[in-house]
């Protein structure tokens, strides 16, 4: 089991979505342990997953572990903002 699990929920693919995915991927690669796992979930393809995980809006980023679970929503295209919200940087 990896030490870090991030789930990113997006609604379809658009330039903004691509930017969000790229930003979160960069956070994984540059700021998190190398075994960090990132799941990108397209709620258009698998809406039942969004329902199961109670995702109210996209883009949503959930850090499943390490605990506590953190859940972010909004403009995730700014790496600095994402890092700060995940409390990885002040």
């Amino acid at each position: 089991m990896s030490s870090y699990l991030l789930k990113l929920y997006v609604a379809g693919y658009s330039p903004t979505t691509d930017e969000v995915i790229a930003t979160v991927r960069r956070v994984c690669e540059e700021n998190l342990p190398s075994d960090c796992e990132l799941l990108v979930i397209n709620v258009l393809e698998t809406p039942e997953v969004a329902v199961r995980d109670k995702v109210l809006a996209t883009p949503t980023l959930i850090r499943e572990y390490p605990l506590p679970v953190r859940r972010l929503v909004g403009d995730l295209t700014d790496k600095r903002v994402v890092l700060k919200a995940l409390e990885l940087e002040n």
Binding site: K54, R71, V73, A85
Partner: protein
């Protein structure tokens, strides 16, 4: 003093005595007579209390049912002073009396102090009541603002859980407040910023929502106030507007195209008539009188026919190029070139043909002129600008061609000393078949500069024309430096 208490501002409190049967109240009545308080005696025992709407109750608690009266007044927040004995005083107060007077120890000071004290308490209670009411009104007003707001409003705690939601937010999420409050929304990032999110509704519908986030406080903790505005309909309306605009542009283009077509027909019929007539004349002469002509004369006629056919062919090519460019089908094949070599070789060719009767100068700022360019289109550009310069200026006048290196682009300029272009016509030079009003008898199609513009556009460059009547014209073309 006439019974107005300076602090409470209360005028003459009425005091209602509820006596016990056979009670002696002479002392009490005497004492009251020395104060500004009015004492009335009510018969009927404690049951009369609900009928009193104002005033101060003095209940004689030596009655067996005193506790009923005290608790009734207490529940109704009515000020009550108990007339009682030392042994009973404590119990009376515990039951809810505001104060007590000892029947056996009555004097004016004690009475007045008690009355003042209770009146003051009553006043404070009234103040509290009024302020609570004001608070309720103001809260209701704010609640109304939030509840009736068209924007969805959420308060989200630092863990990302929803703490508050208004009806608009419930509508947006298609979930009730019971369902929303306590569930995770996610910690909204981007304080004081606006971002676009997609809200997933249980029905599967998605709403495009503009989210604004501000820092706030909720139950003493920092939280985020999230405003959500449904943009789905506005986006749809915007989309419709864009679509409409696109349609309008397409129609306009269509109309322009048909204008171009009719202009084309007009120009073709006009411009082709001259060479056709010359060909006709020359060929008729050859047909009927060839046997009477010298070889040279025959050659001259044949050369005329050839030249006119070439002229028509060139014109057809330009028309084809303009039509292709208008349809976005102009072929652009860039290759690595030295822009100075390319330009100077084209100018050299023109020196001996169209420019043969002008003084031509070519000057290039030193340095490298490497870029990507389509040779064929560049030939069109320089050829047409140069031809215009030669056609609309006197024999023997000068044409200056110069090359300059600018930041990120090369600049080619052609300056003549010709007739110039009227200011009113400058704006329409790049319209197909448009010719300035002062062209006189100089022949032309009105396509030259349009061709130049299309070829410059294909290079991603810019063109500008400056002109003064009778002084000359300066055409400047800037071609971006592209290193392939």
């Amino acid at each position: 003093m006439t019974g107005t208490d300076s602090l409470t501002g209360q005028i003459e409190w009425k005091v209602f005595l509820i006596p016990v049967p056979g009670g002696d109240y002479h002392k009490l009545t005497d004492l009251f007579a020395q104060t500004d308080y009015q004492l009335s005696v009510l018969e009927g025992g404690w049951r009369i209390i609900p009928e009193l709407d104002d005033g101060l109750i003095l209940l004689d608690c030596r009655d067996q049912e005193w506790a009923n009266g005290v608790s009734l007044a207490y529940q109704r927040l009515m000020p009550l002073i108990a007339l009682t004995t030392r042994q009973q005083a404590e119990r009376v107060m515990e039951a809810g009396a505001w104060d007590y007077l000892l029947v056996d120890e009555l004097n004016k000071d004690v009475l007045l102090r008690s009355l003042r004290y209770v009146t003051f308490q009553r006043w404070i209670l009234a103040q509290l009541d009024a302020r609570t009411h004001d608070l309720h009104v103001s809260e209701a007003r704010f609640h109304n603002l939030v509840a009736r707001n068209g924007d969805g409003i959420l308060v989200v705690d630092h863990q990302g859980n929803i703490q508050f939601t208004n009806p608009a937010a419930e509508h947006l999420f298609q979930r009730g407040a019971d369902d929303l409050v306590g569930t995770p929304f996610g910690f909204p990032v981007g304080v004081d910023e606006t971002s676009e999110i997609t809200v997933l509704q249980p029905s599967g519908r998605m709403a495009t929502v503009e989210m604004r986030v501000v820092e706030t406080e909720w139950d003493g903790q920092t939280a985020r106030l999230v405003t959500l505005r449904d943009m789905t309909e506005r986006n749809a309306a915007q989309q419709a507007l864009i679509e409409q605009e696109r349609l309008r542009v397409a129609l306009e283009k269509e109309r322009e195209l048909s204008d171009v077509k009719s202009m084309f027909m007009h120009t073709v019929s006009h411009e082709f008539r001259t060479p056709l007539a010359m060909i006709m004349t020359a060929s008729e002469l050859l047909l009927h009188y060839a046997d009477r002509m010298t070889d040279d004369q025959r050659q001259l006629r044949l050369a005329t026919i050839q030249a006119q056919i070439k002229h028509m062919e060139a014109m057809m090519q330009e028309i084809a190029l303009v039509i292709r460019a208008d349809q976005g089908r102009l072929e652009y094949f860039p290759e690595r070139v030295d822009f100075r070599e390319l330009a100077s070789s084209i100018v050299d060719e023109l020196r001996s043909t169209i420019g043969a009767q002008h003084r031509i100068t070519f000057h290039a700022q030193p340095g490298s002129y490497q870029t990507m360019s389509d040779r064929k289109l560049m030939r069109h550009i320089i050829h047409n600008i140069f031809t215009n310069a030669a056609k609309y200026s006197k024999v023997g006048s000068a044409i200056h061609v110069s090359l300059k290196r600018r930041v990120g682009e090369y600049e080619l300029s052609v300056r003549d000393e010709g007739i110039g272009i009227p200011a009113e016509d400058l704006g329409r030079l790049f319209q197909p078949f448009y010719r300035a009003r002062n062209v006189g008898t100089v022949s032309g199609t009105g396509l030259g500069l349009k061709v130049v513009k299309d070829c410059v556009d294909a290079h991603g460059g810019r063109i500008s024309v400056e002109s003064a009547l009778g002084v000359g014209t300066l055409v400047t073309v800037s071609i971006p430096v592209v290193l392939g």
